[in-house]
């Protein structure tokens, strides 16, 4: 059951500590919990391990936490859009654990579902499987990957109700419903608070969501604005 807070700083009050692990939803800049990330930045909490598919861009999303050196380690699948990330990593200032995107998603899902590890064939034969347990099933080789449980999960949803049930919009869903299950505490920002959600269409049941804020004036930046020409009449 969620409690509703006035703003992101209030919603994170008492939850942040140095050295903690945070899992965040979002793919690129789509569906990122932008208000909550900004509040983590403003809090000054440091030595964070951040689990997120991407690392934002230099001046938006998780990129702001990198620039302010609040992040000690990232667990991600793709960080190609962030120059500051690349610089910090190549100079040894930032730890990085790459996970294949589907393995990352499943590690988060598994952690939230009480599953400490699982076998997958993704990554077998690559450097990302080195040092991990391998096992053969039915003549194929699989690698053991660990579930992820974070101290805190931050997610962005489209609509929520006062109980904390959440609905995401289009591809802004991405990692959010998985991340929502994988935090010891989960805080959600929503664009709209509604009286009632269609119970058949809830994406994240309220049991996962402890705290909720309604954000305003989301920036929702577009990374690659691609358009097509209208056919001439």
């Amino acid at each position: 059951m969620a409690r509703i807070y006035d703003d992101a700083a209030a919603a994170l009050d008492g939850l942040l500590f140095d050295g903690m692990t945070i899992v965040a939803g979002g793919f690129g800049l789509c569906g990122i919990p932008e208000k909550l990330i900004a509040a983590v930045h403003a809090s000054g909490v440091k030595d964070l391990t951040v689990v997120s598919n991407n690392a934002g861009v230099d001046d938006f999303g998780l990129g702001v936490l990198l620039r302010s050196r609040q992040v000690k380690k990232m667990i991600s699948s793709y960080v190609g859009e962030n120059k500051e990330f690349e610089r910090q990593f190549l100079s040894g200032e930032l730890e990085l654990e790459f996970a294949p995107q589907g393995t990352l998603a499943e590690r988060i899902r598994a952690g939230g579902a009480g599953i400490p590890g699982f076998y997958t064939k993704t990554g077998v034969g690559t450097t990302l499987a080195e040092g991990k347990e391998h096992k053969d099933f039915d003549g194929e080789t699989y690698v053991l990957e660990r579930g992820i449980v974070a101290d805190l999960a931050l997610v962005h949803a489209w609509r929520g109700d006062r109980f904390g049930n959440l609905v995401y919009r289009k591809t802004a869903r991405n990692f959010n419903p998985n991340a929502a299950t994988a935090g010891k505490v989960t805080v959600a920002e929503v664009e709209e608070l509604v009286d009632r959600l269609d119970p058949d269409s809830v994406h994240t049941p309220s049991v996962y969501v402890r705290r909720l804020i309604v954000g305003h004036d989301f920036e929702k930046r577009i990374e690659q604005r691609t358009v097509r020409q209208r056919e001439s009449a």
């Binding site: 789509c30 991600s76 034969g125 690659q224």
Partner: protein
């Protein structure tokens, strides 16, 4: 004359069969959707959580909540559905994708693929490529035949960190198309060359062994 990027994409589109569910990688593979033949009905998957990916939106109709895996704005179709990243890769890892088309830095004659990292230099990460090559039923690689310095990309053995071992079924370059019938040790076979390319030239520009 070498094939253009569009000609390579058009050739790759021949690999799409009616009813296929297909994931197209970032870069040249994205162009393949422009060349799907009439009468061939294909559903495109975008691994950030969408089946039934439509074309780019008209100017003014971009939606920040609707992007593809390359972070480009796209549109939805009648058949579109959305799902979480875990669900997206469940369908990929679970073998539901008929085909995936990806780019490459290196392809080896044993079907190994390297396309995600240059040690000490380029740090981007594998994204969903490792999952796609491990899970999709058939892997088509689209890549220039040689790198910018003329070096081999279709090689005896990959020197870069692998994306997947023994995963490539078809390789389409700007010079030729290579294919192998299985992943059980059969060599790649040359099936097509761009007009004006000779077998001697092709062999000189290729590190891998193939049958002609």
């Amino acid at each position: 004359m070498p094939w253009s990027r569009d000609e390579m994409a058009a050739r790759a589109a021949h690999e799409l069969k009616d009813g296929f569910y297909v994931n197209l990688g970032i870069g040249i593979p994205t162009l393949v959707s422009n060349h799907i033949a009439p009468g061939i009905d294909v559903t495109l998957q975008s691994e950030n959580g969408m089946l039934g990916m439509g074309p780019f939106p008209y100017a003014g109709e971009e939606d920040p909540d609707l992007i593809n895996a390359g972070k480009q704005t796209v549109t939805e179709l009648d058949r579109t559905c959305y799902f979480s990243s875990a669900d997206s890769f469940a369908m990929i890892r679970g073998g539901k994708m008929d085909l995936s088309i990806l780019g490459a830095m290196e392809v080896a004659e044993n079907g190994d693929l390297a396309n995600w990292m240059i040690p000490g230099k380029m740090i981007k990460g594998p994204g969903g490529a490792m999952d796609l090559v491990a899970g999709a039923k058939r892997i088509v690689v689209l890549a220039d035949h040689n790198d910018k310095k003329g070096g081999h990309k279709f090689v005896k053995a990959c020197t870069l960190p692998l994306t997947g071992a023994n995963v490539v079924d078809v390789l389409i370059t700007d010079l030729a198309v290579f294919e192998r019938p299985d992943r059980s040790g059969s060599p790649f076979r040359l099936v097509e060359m761009a007009a004006g390319v000779t077998l001697d030239e092709l062999r000189a520009r290729t590190g891998a062994a193939f049958t002609a």
